[in-house]
Amino acid sequence: MAEQEFAYFLGCIMNNRYPGIEKATRIMFDKLGVGLKDMEGASCCPAPGVFGSFDRLTWASIAARNITIAEDQGNDIMTECNGCFGSLYETNHLLHEDPEMKDKVNKVLAEAGREFKGEIQVRHFAEILYNDVGLDKLAEAVTKPLNLNVAVHYGCHFLKPSDAIGIDDPIKPTILDELVEITGAKSVDYKDKMMCCGAGGGLRSRDNDVTADFTREKLTNMRDAGVDAIINVCPFCHLQFDVGQVETNNKFGTDFEIPVFHLAQLYGMAMGVSVDDLTVDAHQVCVDSALEKCEENLSTLDEITGGE
């Protein structure tokens, strides 16, 4: 594989709450031969629905500052958070399309000694895996197939607004399902699969009851489909399904206990990264049921070969 390197944008929730996602990604990309270069001094993206809702200029300026760090490296950005992807991609797109806004932002950035040039692309982790690494190479890297039934949660800002992003069909996408199934896991269809987790747009911090009601609906539909775990590609959705699952149980008296994994953690498991490195023990919702099922499957794999 050709030398490829990305500017690795961390964001907030992954590195400051779920470091196992970051660790798994670094190990995985090392195995895949794709370079990740730290974006030193990067900040919050900042959150699209929150900062974008308060002040568009501040939002675009902080995002553009992050982009300039990657421009200095000469690398495209990789982020594995839908929110970060939303802010950085949208800003990059906006400043390309709207020279007036670009001037405004650059005036602000000049105060900090920076300039947005518009020289790089913003990419999402999952889309890089799918388009650059490719399913074949990923399949080769899987050493421990996972026989899990999982609910794939796309989240909102990975594919939408689709006219600007264009990664996959926003109503009936397949990209994540294909990526998940490379690990041996089965993506189970469930009702209103494309629905939001409820955390975005500043709703989680402002009106958590409404957010929890979204989450309850998603969790109900996932449980009805009989899944072993939830797979996401956004640490904020991840947090909502993890912490928010406990909050939902407390608010509504439900008893959901569906383990949650970021796609990087799922790939980590399938590529033999130690469970310890995935920091899944620090999740609010216990993931043991899913891990045990993986172990069972490994030990009985021979017996069920060809069973389907």
Binding site: N16, S53, R56, C196, G200, L203
Partner: protein, 326 residues
Amino acid sequence: MSFLNRLKRALTGEGEPGEKKPKETAKTEEPQVKTEPEKPPVEEKEPETSAEEQVTVEVETIPEEEIPEEKEESTEEKTPATDEPLAPVTSESETTEETEPESPEEKPEKSSEEELSEEIDEPAEEPEEAVEEPKKERSESMTLLNADENKITRADIDPRFKEEVMEAGAESVAICFQCGTCTGACPSGRRTPYRIRQLVRRAVMGLKNDVISDDSIWMCTTCYECQERCPRGIKIVDVVKIVRNYAAQAGYMAPAHKAVGSFVLKTGHGVPINDVTMELRKRVGLDELPPTTHTFPEALEEVQTIIKASGFDKLIGYNWEKGELE
């Protein structure tokens, strides 16, 4: 039952029971119908949208009665007149008031309708009340505002607001024709009073204060389901965010949101690191602090410079000396 029947009539295009009805609806509608065509200052530049606007305003109160009647009874006569493609609906509704009473076809139909309505709805003596009451209910439920003193008037309209929203990046909002697909797709609308179609409508009408003071605009998770389905390709989420920008400027920003803003201002992160995560990072062999503004103070200074330059510190009311929100 009477609602169902009325709906059925509307759908089949049959007229409404009672002669009085068209007159009454014309009466109740007069203020709107009069003011808009006479002085259309809100939408001077776009005849198309102003036509749409009139219609939607009317449609909210009396859609079933007038328009279908028109089509059934007088379209054949008027089709030559409604040739202008731009405002066919308006021409219909305008002609309604003038031609209906004169239309010779109506009389026989009405009598049969009256009979029908008597059987189904109410005793014959009270056709007026029977007609009036449900209409009130309906107009109440169709508007955002319940009490009379809260009725929208011209004084509530900020004629620049629509332009401001458009200039801020949502030009496409001008072509909204209020189909409601957005609200149908909205997961927040299923559980909160948030109605994205109404938000767009009110923004286009220029009801700035009405919109920005409405708590429900903060119920959007920016999930884009509305925007993906909009048949006119309107950047609806941009409209929401722009409207929220105006709300924030006017002081309608929740304390929790100011707090998130202050985290970024203080640390560069909306979700800053904590002790538990620092331990976890160390355990898995990552640097205790990520290589972000957490590790590079000069980078944090850049972020703070940007925040001062854009005025965000003032927007959230951050006191630099105290190091906290006011």
